[in-house]
């Protein structure tokens, strides 16, 4: 705004009158003239300039500058802004463990999310170049960008549900697991508490010892009669006098629908548990001496024991292992990576589009020249393509860093209340302390200021880059 005022035409002229006449000095009216060309050739009256500038300046001041300054001001006051507390809020912020967790998570986000988004974007962009339906491919990858963060958060909250019937992530995990490891036949079944058994590592051992030639009854509870296999029949008592080298017994579900029946007795209506394996463990050696599998009526016979020796019976844990429940995606340890994955789902497409545009502008001759010179594909990629793409990659990276620093909605929506403290990031913590319960606008503002300070380097980088591009463009 250091243009000479004398350039103005007749002072009384209506400011809005007609387009300004091109000056005699410059051939073309040029609003922006590169440095070195001297003064603007335009003669615009100050009032006109002010008239154009003031609305924008007022809006800028009202919605950007004033709130920013006010935030700094508020950050130096107590929770309702009534008392000056100096830097106390900043001290509180950096000593509070919740904020430190949030800061730690922000670091994880800034390190991981932009780089992975860039890498994925680069991968997709290169892939899109090679395949036939590249436009469709790009459109699909880009599609999540059309979804709001909130909606994406809700979607991923469902994806990560613990119940494999609800969350697709765990449905896959459980599906894969169960393909390789069969689930047990009677998950959760167990002897009644305090019925002469001890549990060790999922197996149950009888406390009492039995001699070969005796009879053992093993009542179990803890599963529903409806979940017994169809072949399960009314439980039968074991033979009264087994052979001297055998232990006979019955494993049955000691339950009757609606209660009733006597615990521990083989009442009508109680069914055997076919297929349960029972081991006889030699008390003296601690080694398995024989095993048997229960029949449909629950009876089993362990043969080949030494008459007179004493044995403990063991029901191996493999009978009762609980089904695999999948991965705790939103548990304390995985919640942040899980949310970052949902972020990547959205932003990889954005990175891909920018990088694809960059790829398209790389002169093909360079790659071909390298190929002619005998470089292999890997060398071409790392020595030619990536260096040429570097400016684009940097732009994507910096944009993502700014994006990631202010990430809020995904974390807020996806993390369940119980692991929100583990998934916390600064923007969420800022909301929490100022509106989400804390009602401490002073501390909240301090966090806002801190977050702003964190974004500054990225902003500075972006502005410098813009300036440089402008200069290059003006040359």
């Amino acid at each position: 705004m250091d243009e000479p005022l004398s350039a103005a035409p007749a002072a009384g002229a209506a400011p809005a009158a007609g387009p300004p006449a091109p000056s005699a000095a410059g051939p073309v009216p040029h609003l922006y003239s590169p440095a070195g060309h001297g003064r603007s050739p335009l003669r615009i009256p100050v009032r006109v300039r002010a008239g154009f500038l003031i609305p924008a300046a007022v809006i800028l001041a009202a919605i950007i500058i004033w709130p920013a300054v006010d935030s700094v001001w508020l950050s130096l006051h107590n929770h309702d802004g009534s008392k000056w507390v100096g830097l106390h809020n900043y001290k509180t912020m950096f000593t509070d463990s919740a904020t430190l967790t949030a800061l730690k998570n922000n670091v994880i986000w800034v390190v991981c999310a932009p780089t992975i988004a860039c890498a994925l974007g680069l991968m997709f962009a290169l892939l899109a170049e090679k395949i036939r339906w590249s436009t469709a491919f790009k459109a699909v990858i880009f599609m999540p960008m059309a979804i709001s963060f909130l909606a994406a958060g809700v979607i991923f909250e469902l994806v990560y549900q613990q119940d494999p019937n609800q969350g697709v992530a765990n449905a896959v995990a459980v599906g894969i697991h169960d393909t390789f490891a069969k689930s047990s036949q009677y998950p959760g079944a167990r002897p009644r508490p305090n019925e002469g058994t001890a549990a060790t590592g999922g197996s149950f051992n009888t406390v009492q010892t039995y001699q070969a030639g005796s009879v053992v009854t093993v009542p179990l509870v803890g599963i529903q009669a409806a979940s017994l296999p169809g072949k399960a029949a009314q439980a039968a008592a074991p033979t009264a006098a087994p052979a001297p080298d055998q232990i006979e017994g019955t494993v049955w579900l000691d339950l009757i629908y609606g209660g009733g029946g006597k615990p521990g007795s083989i009442d009508p209506g109680k069914k055997g548990m076919p297929g349960i394996s029972v081991k006889a463990v030699d008390v003296a050696t601690g080694k398995s001496a024989g095993s048997a599998s229960a029949h449909d009526d629950g009876t089993f016979t362990i043969k080949g024991l030494k008459p007179g020796d004493s044995y403990r019976l063991e029901l191996p844990g493999s009978n009762f292992a609980q089904p695999y429940r999948g991965i705790q995606w939103l548990g304390p340890s995985l919640v942040t990576p899980a949310i970052i994955a949902s972020y990547l789902w959205i932003w990889a497409g954005f990175a891909m589009v920018l990088i694809a545009a960059g790829l398209a502008s790389i002169p093909r001759e360079l790659q071909e020249a390298a190929r002619v010179d005998g470089a292999n594909e890997r060398q071409i990629f790392w020595r030619v393509t990536v260096p040429l793409l570097a400016p684009v990659l940097l732009v994507v990276l910096v944009t993502q860093v700014i994006n990631v620093l202010k990430v809020f909605d995904l974390v807020y929506v996806i993390a369940p209340g119980s692991t929100l403290p583990n998934a916390n990031v600064l923007a969420v913590q800022m909301w929490n302390v100022s509106f989400g319960g804390g009602q401490d606008q002073g501390l909240g503002s301090a966090m806002g200021v801190f977050l702003y300070a964190l974004v500054l380097p990225a902003m500075y980088f972006n502005i410098r880059r813009l300036r440089r591009e402008k200069k290059e463009g003006g040359r």
Binding site: A98, Q162, Q224, I256, Y257, Q328, G417, L420, P421, G437
Partner: protein
Amino acid sequence: MGARSHRSVTAVAAVGLASGLALAGCSSSSSKPSAGSSNSSAATSASGSASGSAPGGGTASGPALPDLSGKSIQVLAEWSGTEQQDFQKVIDAFTAKTHAKVSYQGAGDQTVTVLQSKIAGGGAPDVALIAAPGAITDLAKAGKLTPLSADVQSTIDANFDPGWKKLGTIDGKSYSIMFKAADKGTFWYNTAAFQQAGIQPPTDWAGFLKDCQALSDAGITPVSVGGADGWTLADWFQNVYLSQAGPDMYDKLSHHQIPWTDPSVKQALTTLGQLFGNDQFLAGGKSGALQTSFNDSVTNTFKTPPKAAMVFEGDFSSSVITSTTSAKLGTDAKFFPFPAAGSTANFVQGSGDAAVALNNNPATMAFIQYLASPEAGSIWAQAGGFLSPNKNVPASAYPDDITRAEAAQLTQAGPNFRFSLDDLSPAGFGGTKGAGEWGDLQYFLGHPTDVDGTAAKLEADAAKVTWS
């Protein structure tokens, strides 16, 4: 009704809307802030066909109200949607009796904030219905509220157990009376599961644990706990504490006059740990419970096949049952009063909207007097989704047995009704997701043997905020 029940039920409605995209009932967004309240839209459907009946309770007669032709009053409350329509029926009946003009404004979850800004701006309403006792106390002490007139008080005396009047008394003066209440003493159970295990609803904590064992033996997971939302755990704790330590200790704790490291708190935590500490008793175990939202915990209990036999939360759970499962209230799903862990009987922990007067105009007082009458309560009761602490609202006014039982539990509680402690606390302690009481009790659900550590955490968090 407390803000939280709105949030939760709003989330149910949101799930319903999104059902094309999502599986019904598996959203755990129940503690997300969301303005507005479509609370009784679901609750009304819970009441079935009876909700169509016309307003104007035939059996209940209102107080003698003056003719207020030409007078007009403004009423501020949180209700919108169906609840607003039902409240409008109450207003219309008042207008028909007195010819006063009543204009209603709904302010959603932010009613207190709206009221405060209206007072500051000089445009205060005449009557406000507020679900925050702390705010009422603050406003009364600041001289913004007018004590209720003698006529209103005599109506209250005639229709409410003295305990309810005491709740609205500040420094010896009666300032408010609860019009609509939420009952958080309801423990919901799947009748088929109870039948299968051959057990009866428990009456005390020991019986409850015995039933849990019986259910577990029968292969049925006893309880689903919505531990992903901290407020459900707060309600668990508060019910145990209220019944075990008694209302007086509860009052002290809710004003932080005793520390959270008090033996009574530890005893309540130990009691709660008898349930939380047994992985066989919780659907999904401890870690599963921590990932289960309030909505899911209710749905788990009543879907087919059920994942648990019992779930504890307030009367508003019924709207989740009807909107996310095919279980029928009163046959498939019933409730029993929260099993007392101590000697306090007929206790109810809950919340509610209390009417306050902002001036002494006859029309203002007449409206509150009307709200305190059985007539006003009956009108909304018939529409459903409403519980009145008014003992003279006839049982026949409620649309179904479940609501009748809830209302009976509420009116009988009288002196042992206590507002939810987390709602009474500063929001930094009792209203922040994953922090304060909610967060600490989530820690406890994950570490149910660490009673001392949890109490210490609670006390440390309580010491951070300013108590009234």
